[in-house]
């Protein structure tokens, strides 16, 4: 008997960690500067808070808008949203939401419309320090029906009228007194930073119980959470900036998983998978991060559409993705990713075609000159400068491959790298890049690219360099499409407009589309329920479903 019992006990002890684990340690590469959900905009904060603080609405893993703190999404069809006519005949919308009956702050105080009104007051105050304030500016009035039901009156009717993802609720019973005395000092006095472990600040399945600045954050279950019971007694989020150290911490057991939202770059995680794939699940999720080349259309070398098309056709993006990223980075055809429902799959793809690329350059008057570099009739060389972010290994590799591929069609590429701060603070934002800038835009599902494509968004000294249309793209047709897609409520009609936007983008090529980046999640095999989203609403918005099995 003893002979059989001993191995059984040993195997049971060895198996114990797999089912008895009640603590999950997550590694991320950044530490949040503030924990206030409305102040500053930082991915680390969004990630950490997602365990403890829920917005009213969010996009889920299938990129559909969903209620997190509300009972039902208001729509015109279900009668909870009503079109309003405003002064001057403009259209607005009144959308009615009901907060979940079981929504409570972790000190037991119910989440109420008082919190909604207070959060709106903070958001619209110009000195409160709230980062994304567009929604708050558009909400003209909050009409309180009862302690759970409220109507938002918005001064513009757009197709995404019911998406209030940026309306993060602040607990009025804690924050009001800190805000009302001195709104301009609120960002320094918020309890989220001065009293971070106060349970009344959190309404998610977990609440923050410890913050060690620059090191880690500890979360424990919110006993007042009304939804699915969280699966862990403790979640520890550790900030480990260096990705090699992050990997070493995972292998040595210092952390259990690496978050995809703020973890290893794709090429590093692919290498990790080859070495340690048997121990971990490596999940790559295509994201809404659009890697592209902004072209400076003011440059005489790039003003001709044939040249821009030739450059795109001269790039073998499929091979770049296959060789550098094992094909896990989706080739982009425009600003819209294939996972978005408005993606126009029927549009022709700009596949690698060096013969056509050479022909287009010949047609544009660029003939092969000395040293194989094309020259025009003014003896100008087709020599382009590409600026990208220093220290981003992936971009540096892509740029080098592009350099080699374009050389074959007679285009010289000079690569220049700059620190992100210089590049985004000066070179790109003030349109100082002579020809090309390689970087990514992070967007939301069905996000209208007004700020990057509308002619009113071209940065210049006159508008104090605001706007993100860095190429200087000015197309009345595109302006009209962007204006109309924003206010089109019919999904069918909107899809048709989106198709036109993508077709026009592919024809005009204000930027050369490269890839939609993939996030890499490195998870222990026993961890179930993590659903990468690929957009700005991170996976821990559904952390109550995470289980160690």
């Amino acid at each position: 008997m003893r002979k059989f019992l001993a191995p059984l006990i040993v195997s049971t002890m060895l198996a114990a960690p797999a089912w008895a684990k009640d603590e999950l340690a997550i590694g991320i590469t950044q530490f949040p500067a503030t924990l206030n959900p409305s102040i500053e905009s930082m991915l680390a904060k969004t990630y950490v808070l997602a365990f403890a603080h829920r917005p009213i609405t969010a996009y889920d893993a299938s990129w559909q808008l969903t209620c997190l703190l509300c009972e039902k999404l208001p729509t015109i069809e279900n009668g909870l949203a009503k079109v309003e006519t405003l002064e001057g005949g403009r259209k607005g919308i009144a959308a009615t939401y009901a907060l979940r009956a079981d929504a409570k702050w972790a000190d037991g105080t119910p989440v109420t419309t008082d919190d909604v009104v207070f959060s709106w007051e903070v958001g619209r105050h110009p000195q409160s320090g709230v980062a994304a304030a567009e929604l708050f500016r558009r909400i003209t009035r909050v009409e309180v029906k009862d302690s759970r039901t409220f109507t938002l009156h918005v001064d513009k009717l757009t197709f995404d009228y019911n998406a209030i993802n940026d309306l993060h609720l602040l607990p009025a019973h804690i924050e009001r007194k800190r805000f009302e005395g001195a709104p301009s000092e609120y960002r320094n006095r918020t309890a989220y930073d001065q009293d971070s472990t106060n349970p009344g600040l959190y309404n998610g399945p977990y609440r923050i119980t410890s913050v060690v600045q620059g090191s880690h954050v500890v979360l424990e279950p919110n006993t007042y959470w009304g939804g699915t019971k969280p699966g862990f007694k403790r979640i520890v989020i550790k900030a480990i900036e260096n990705t090699a150290s992050l990997e070493a911490n995972l292998l040595s057991g210092g952390i259990d998983m690496i978050a995809g939202e703020l973890g290893l770059p794709l090429e590093q995680s692919l290498a990790f998978e080859k070495r340690h794939g048997a121990r971990f699940n490596v999940i790559t999720k295509p994201s809404l991060s659009y890697e592209h080349l902004d072209l400076n259309l003011s440059s005489s070398l790039l003003s001709e559409p044939k040249v821009r098309r030739a450059l795109l056709l001269g790039l073998d993006r499929e091979t770049i993705s296959r060789q550098l990223f094992e094909g896990r980075q989706i080739v982009a055809e425009s600003v819209v990713p294939p996972l978005d429902w408005v993606f126009a799959a029927d549009l022709p793809k700009a596949s690698f075609d060096p013969v056509r690329a050479n022909q287009l350059l010949d047609d544009a008057g660029w003939m092969v000159g000395p040293g194989g570099v094309r020259v025009n009739h003014r003896r100008e060389r087709l020599s382009l400068e590409l600026v990208t972010t220093a220290g981003n290994r992936s971009r540096e590799l892509i740029a080098q491959v592009m350099q080699a591929q374009w050389k074959k069609i007679g285009v010289e590429l000079r690569i220049k790298t700059e620190p992100p701060r210089v590049m985004f603070g000066d070179t790109v934002t003030r349109r100082k890049f002579p020809h090309m800038a390689l970087f990514a835009w992070y967007s939301a599902p069905e996000s209208v690219p007004r700020s990057t494509l509308h002619s009113s968004m071209i940065p210049n000294a006159g508008n104090n360099w605001s706007g993100q249309n860095y190429p200087g793209y000015a197309s009345p047709a595109m302006d009209q499409l962007l204006d109309s897609v924003e206010v089109e409520l019919s999904k069918d009609k909107r899809k048709a407009i989106w198709r036109d936007i993508q077709a026009l983008y592919a024809a005009d090529l204000p930027a050369l589309p490269l890839f939609f980046k993939s996030d890499s999640f490195i998870l222990p095999k026993e961890l179930k329920g993590v659903q990468p989203t690929g957009h700005q609403d991170p996976s821990p918005y559904w952390a109550e479903n995470w289980r160690w099995e």
Binding site: T34, Q127, S184, T190, D193, S245, P420, Y442
Partner: protein, 315 residues
């Protein structure tokens, strides 16, 4: 030169330092709001203008420096923009962590380097000297980030003996736990520092070996140990004192690379993030503290020189 004069000079240096740091940060292209805009599609150009005005980033840097100086003179360090708390509160834990790390590393480094330097100097060109030289060159040449990663790979990943990073086990594991977390970063820093200190020690000892007082001591019948440790070492410690004094400021400014590799929340990372994030209050306070400590170290070194060699005072 009197202590009062040295203190007045130090104040002037600090003032100049604050001006230069503020100016360099102010002249850096771009600001954190630009980076924020690039990373968040929800932010509009209006938001950028509003946030820049709110944080004073739209004002000329000279105006901001004068305002900061006025507050600083009144003892007001201000708020950290990055950490949304008073500067002193944001700096305190990092300061403690860095001082602990750097002090331990320096103590370990000197306690190994000084005997090595002495031993190497006893027979210049001998086998031991060559070995110490080899180790010293290796110590100086090996990049500290690589050394740190190798230590992690061997002792944390491979052998599983020590934690790969952090200050302590989450939840607190007591003194022994904190010491375990210190082993690898302290070892990385100490190993990187041993070479330089050993080389200086060796050179100073060899320099002193031919001095008249050494010959006199030997002639008076002093044994080799007494000559080396009692006479030669005392004078050879002057250059080491200089090194220690110069590194005194480093105790409070941290070691950026080591702190990053070992996820050690210290002053190096804090100051770096503050500079890159245009957190003027935090960056200036951190850098001025390091400068002040270096200046203090320099004054202390002068006092130590007087003690080690009273002739310096008479000159």
């Amino acid at each position: 030169m009197g202590v009062t004069t040295r203190l007045l000079q130090s104040v002037l240096v600090l003032l100049l330092m604050s001006f230069v740091v503020y100016g360099l940060m102010g002249l850096m292209p771009g600001d954190p709001i630009d980076l924020m805009i690039a990373g968040d599609p929800r932010l509009t150009p209006d938001d950028a203008v509003r946030l820049k005005a709110l944080y004073g980033l739209d004002q000329p840097w000279m105006e901001r420096w004068l305002r900061w100086l006025g507050q600083f003179i009144q003892g007001e360090l201000g708020y950290s923009r990055l950490y949304a708390r008073p500067v002193a509160e944001a700096m305190a834990p990092a300061l403690g962590n860095s001082a602990l790390l750097m002090l331990s590393a320096m103590a370990l480094s000197l306690s190994v380097a000084i005997p090595l330097g002495i031993l190497a100097s006893l027979r210049p060109g001998g086998p031991l000297d060559r070995l110490v030289n080899l180790l010293a060159f290796a110590s100086v040449s090996v990049p500290v980030f690589w050394l740190g990663l190798m230590l992690i790979v061997v002792f944390a990943v491979g052998l599983g003996m020590l934690p790969a990073g952090g200050v302590e086990t989450v939840g607190g594991g007591g003194l022994a736990d904190r010491l375990r977390h210190m082993v690898l970063p302290v070892a990385a820093l100490a190993l990187a520092g041993i070479g330089q200190a050993a080389r200086h020690m060796r050179a100073a000892m060899i320099g002193e070996a031919g001095a008249d007082y050494i010959r006199t001591a030997r002639a008076k019948g002093c044994g080799p140990a007494r000559v080396v440790l009692g006479h030669q070492l005392r004078n050879a410690l002057l250059p080491i004192t200089t090194i220690v004094a110069l590194e005194f400021g480093g105790l409070f400014s941290g070691a950026l690379i080591t702190e990053t590799v070992f996820a050690w929340p210290g002053m190096g990372r804090l100051i770096y993030e503050a500079v890159m994030g245009n957190d003027f209050n935090l960056a200036l306070s951190g850098l001025l503290l390091a400068t002040a400590m270096t200046l203090t170290g320099s004054i202390l070194a002068d006092m130590a020189y007087l003690r080690l060699d009273p002739r310096i005072g008479r000159k």
